[in-house]
């Protein structure tokens, strides 16, 4: 395999310059799209993911096949709770920094206010979950 070593990449007009460091910092390091809500959990597609763990209702762990430099990465999600053909419910996904390791990220999905001090929501399985992780490796 050949390696192209350059300091900066620009478009044909000389604009939109990016350094190799910027490209490395900005690209997604881990992503996964899975169904956690119907029958057995199914991973549709992924990148740098070795598996997804179904811990309990609405609680999932993304297991990386790479090792991040630390657990300070940014995790963004999109999720949908199928309501049998009706409008999808609003779903929240929580991710605690302290639950993350250099090789795993834990997410909790559910509806409504899940505040233990009086929330009306519920932790729930989610039919479509997409997770993308940006950070240093």
């Amino acid at each position: 395999m050949s390696t192209l070593k350059v300091n900066t990449i620009q478009d044909a007009s000389g604009g939109n310059a990016s350094t190799a460091a910027e490209l490395n910092s900005g690209r997604c390091k881990v992503w996964v799209n899975f169904n956690g809500g119907s029958s057995t959990l199914t991973v549709f597609d992924s990148y740098n993911v070795s598996s997804v763990t179904d811990n309990s209702t609405g609680v999932y762990t993304i297991n990386f096949s790479i090792t991040m430099a630390n657990n300070d990465f940014a995790l963004v999600t999109n999720q949908r709770l199928d309501t049998s053909g009706g409008a999808p419910s609003i779903v929240h996904t929580g991710n605690e920094h302290d639950d993350n390791t250099t090789t795993t990220a834990k997410i909790v999905c559910g509806t409504g206010n899940q505040n233990a001090a009086g929330g009306s929501g519920n932790i729930a399985d989610v039919t479509s979950v997409a997770v993308a992780i940006f950070g240093d490796v």
Binding site: V32, F34, G37, S38, S39, T40, L41, T42, V43, D45, S46, Y47, V49, S50, S51, V52, T53, D54, N55, S56, T57, T61, N63, S65, T103, D125
Partner: protein, 66 residues
Amino acid sequence: MANSDSRFIYTNDDGSISIVCPADNTDLTLDQIKDKDCPSGKTVYTVNKSAIPTDRSFRDAWTYSE
């Protein structure tokens, strides 16, 4: 057989079970994923995905024994 045809099951300290779904888009083998993503010191069962119940109504009450 694809990685995703298998599942790894282990029992947590609180009696609940975790089910690991291996990804297909990885260079790791099933054994490598099992060693890496399942806790050491616990008995881990490898089952076909068809062994997992499709009704998740009582997911948090699931237990597993051979």
